[in-house]
Amino acid sequence: MECKGRSSWFVVLAVLWASASWAITSPLKATIIDRYGNQHQVDKFTFQGRQDLEIYIQDQRKLMPLEKVARLRFEGERGDEEQRIVLVLRNGSEEKAVMQTGSSSSPHQDAVGGGSSGRRFAGVTTLGPFSILASDVREIVLRHPVGELPPADKILKASIITTEGKRFEVEDLLFRGKQRLDFFRGRNKRFIPLAKVERIDFQDGAIGEEFRPITATYWTGKTVMGTVEASTVRLSGETDRSYFERVNKAFTGESGSGPFGIGMHAVRHIRFKKDKSAAEMETGEESALEK
């Protein structure tokens, strides 16, 4: 009798514990179609345990969050080390990219940490844990919650003024492929979302110093100060290409005359232009609040 009472207490405690704690896992669901045409309905969908894809668009590395993707199609062969992929995004646009898929037939024997490709999609099916090599996948259709809006993508427009006084009007401004500027506050790395910033002023660092102080002013009036890496020194082991991109293509975008790129050491000011739709939305919200 006493034993029964104890076990019921254990059950109650276990239920309480289970309801009081949980681990954050991927909320993504997907339908994976392999090269034989088999479909797999997968929950808690991830790629290498991550919720983003490492892809190359026009040879520039980019981390694409899976929550932005509606559909992903692999156009290469199973044995290809890297494959051309077509991404259909949730906002309707389509991107062609290259993705490292790793060949299942030729594992990297010299790779420290494993002789087989770790590039796998994983998740959970009704039958249990599921994983598949990226090279065995033909297509992935992501199933996002009905009614959930895709993350808004803004096209940032800005005027960039260089240290020489030249001015460039740039569209789709990105910092190393992202819409955020990484900076240091002391020795701590932080980021500034470029979509929320009105202006960034770069000050001159001392000669030979690798960092430049910056002051970013948000649209809300908040200011953030820190330093950014602006070194032009070539590092030991750096390839020509990575050195050129690091030094001359910190900020990239599109100008009237074509692709635009500038190094961190050469920027004096960045003035962002307020998105008209965002401004209209803000004024709409303000008027609604007044009412």
Partner: protein
């Protein structure tokens, strides 16, 4: 007779009391909780708060910060690790508990900084009185560079697998030192022009696993009476 029985009873009570006192003293010494209420393991969640726990595959020290999604303000930050390129960094191994922080209920963005440009971000919701475990997909590797003098400090670069983009830099150490990166495949390059050394090593980082990259002549086996040997390549 009755007097004797009374004496025995009193003796019994005294013995029992003494035993209880001894057990209480021993128990008090061996107890995990102190008089101040502190104990091993995480303390209780303060009233009105929820708890965020970082699960980083056995890595108990990561640099992270938490942003309130409503206000955009940073509400908590911890930076116990030095930069990967700093020459003074080493593993202390002092922490036995995963990192945690007690927060007001609400939605937050947890950002974990790694030793490369890519950070790991997770959106979470903290509920009052409850634990939220955030799984951070990061792994770690160690670069052990040794020359004729033994282990030494040399700078190296961390690239993506295609060697297209430099993602970060590091400095090897004579001590144990790990570099934390998001799970994935990378390449490590050490170039030392004066000696003609140029090594490029692929490394596959998985969550919860530690990789050792040995560059240079293998360390000599330990002589009897010497300390432990270095870990070899798996």
């Amino acid at each position: 007779m009755a007097l004797r029985r009374g004496h025995n009873q009193a003796r019994k009570w005294l013995l029992t009391g003494a035993l209880i006192a001894i057990f209480a003293v021993i128990g008090g010494c061996a107890s995990t909780s102190s008089s101040s209420g502190r104990s091993y393991g995480p303390p209780l969640i303060p009233e009105g708060k929820g708890r965020l726990l970082i699960q980083a595959g056995g890595i108990n020290e990561v640099n992270f910060y938490v942003i309130d999604e409503e206000t955009g303000e940073e509400v908590h930050a911890e930076s116990p690790r030095t930069s990967g390129s700093s020459p003074i960094g080493y593993e202390s191994g002092s922490r036995s508990m995963p990192q945690f922080v007690d927060l007001d209920p609400g939605k937050y963005l947890v950002v974990v900084n790694t030793d490369i440009d890519d950070s790991v971000e997770k959106e979470i919701e903290v509920v009052m009185g409850q634990d939220v475990y955030v799984s951070i997909p990061v792994g770690r590797f160690q670069v052990i560079f040794s020359d004729s003098q033994g282990r030494s400090q040399v700078p190296f670069l961390i690239y993506d697998y295609n060697l297209r983009t430099m993602l970060g830099r590091g400095m090897t150490s004579t001590e144990v030192r790990y570099f934390i990166v998001p799970v994935g495949e990378y390449k490590v390059r050490i170039e030392n022009s004066p000696t003609g050394l140029d090594e490029i090593r692929p490394v596959q980082v998985s969550m919860g696993q530690t990789q050792n990259i040995l560059i240079g002549p293998p360390p000599s086996p330990a002589q009897p009476g010497e300390g432990g040997t270095e870990a070899g390549q798996p």
